[in-house]
Amino acid sequence: MLLSNLPALQVVIPLASAPLCLLLRNPRHAWGCALVVSWVVLAIAIMLVRNVYTGGTISYAVGAWATPWGIEYRVDMASALMVLIIATIGAIVMPYAWRSIEHELHQKHTGLVYTCYLLCLTGLLGVVVTGDAFNLFVFLEISSLSSYVLISLGSTRRALTAAYQYLVMGTIGATFILIGIGLLYMMTGTLNMMDLSQRLPEVADTRTIRVAFAFVTVGVSIKLALFPLHIWLPNAYTFAPSVVSAFIAATATKVGVYVLLRFFFTVFDARFTFAAMHVGEILMLLAVAAILIASVVAIFEDNVKRMLAYSSVAQIGYIILGISLASTAGVSAGMIHLFNHAMIKGALFLAMGCIFLRLGSVELKDMHGLAKQMPLTMAAFVVGGLSLVGIPLTSGFISKWYLVSAALTDGYWPLAILILVSSLLALIYIWRVVEAVYFNMPGAQMHKIKEAPASMLIPTWLLIGVNLYFGINADLISGIARRGAEVLLGQALP
């Protein structure tokens, strides 16, 4: 009974606990509630992944209304991977959150943060399990609205303007998606994704469907911060509270990529997307621009959180590059990097949160000689940074390996060279941090700085550990990603 309702529980548990958190008032109780929920969600996610891995795609009719009339939750390998990413990041970030939130936020806000966090979790998980196009829009907006609130809680006033800018751009993106879904409904009379995919080929050669496709693609591209629609991202990540930066950087844009995959491969089929609409070429160009330009901008940033934010734009470029190849190898490389980048960026932003707790700043000039005072935090940053660059034995290497080989299989050798060159660019910006903290003379106040508390160090190192584990033993993730890509491209049995 309980087991057959897993896909619904995944969404309902965080949704129902969000108001509970609000009613609890006491910040410590609210945090405890959010912590327990995060772990329960992770347990459900692991069960879901196992069920899908052994038993194939799960289809769940919400409220027992038969599909395609009711809303369907549909968990296939691709959504199972996303559920796993979101739940893992949530479960690791929550134990860390208490000290960090207590330090960075005004006391009257601390209880509310957890309510917003749970709503954001609900939205993100909802997007990846739903099989209904309109329901996807609603969940996307639940997660976006709560992340605007979370970002606005940052300690400086610039957090407010960053959240406002994100709100305006995010809403334009969401409305574009809504227009697209409306036009699709107009032509097919259905909102269920599987039903849409069956009915669309008949009407695919009409202007309405092409316009719908364009609206959805542009709208989702804003949400996932595809270059040049990324301008909301650097400010939002820089000025948000540390925990929020880590959680949102690791999950929100990834969910955007998932939505793009869903529309490209499930709703519209790959032939329409890549052969009729020529999206592959456009995406490849934008991905290359994102990788090069954002990496170069990151080199010149003096605020490390901002540097990591620009690096995120570049890394999203890698993921999109994999997808733009439109082959099983390319899409699975994109999905492997989706997972690995979530873990890498999560860990790096958590390390930044530790530094902000003790130092009160993440500017490079304030961090001189910090490695002596905070050896464990900085070691975590270095390992995470190396993974971002793609050094062997880290998970970043695995993603780049799969990406390069996918590019070579399709004969795009310039892309392989580009990936290597941009890894060097990543090495330069990571090196700037390493140079400042290890090789520069510490300032006069530096000896007062202590190492971060264990409650924050352990989650950071846990994520670093995940990185190293999947750098050495990549079979599990590459297997899941490959099967996810096969399901999306329609090569595996449903």
């Binding site: 907006e141 609205l145 006033r157 407010l160 406002y164 305006v168 809403t171 409305t175 227009i179 107009m186």
Partner: protein, 118 residues
């Protein structure tokens, strides 16, 4: 010509949509931007609602002797979308209040100048 007039609902949608979008992009006043965003979203609601109309159909309530009904589903969808849009507008305006407290202005250009000065 009849095509132009026959599709008048879409012309209204497009004009509203572009008006809203233009306000969001061109106005530096943060409240006007939110108003523009709301007009932009409303145009999409009209797109949905007008597509639900079935020629000669009545309201979708089962009644003796009536066989043609308008499609009720887009109305339901838009009810949800209106709630989302309302939440967005409320949150946007709340942010503007906080921005006004922090910067003492709601003009985007002035805020930018203040941020540059540090």
């Amino acid at each position: 010509m009849s095509e132009l007039l026959g599709l008048y609902n879409y012309w209204i949608v497009i004009i509203l949509m572009m008006t809203g979008f233009y306000i969001v992009i061109a106005r530096p006043n943060l409240i006007k931007k939110i108003i523009g965003l709301f007009i932009f979203q409303t145009s999409v609601f009209i797109l949905f609602i007008s597509m639900a109309k079935v020629e000669g159909g009545t309201a979708p309530i089962i009644e003796e002797g009536i066989s043609v009904y308008s499609n009720p589903l887009p109305h339901v969808l838009i009810l949800t979308a209106i709630v989302v849009s309302l939440a967005t507008t409320a949150l946007g305006l709340a942010l503007v209040v906080r921005i006004r407290e922090a910067y003492d202005t709601i003009n985007e250009d002035d805020i930018h100048v203040q941020d540059e000065e540090g």
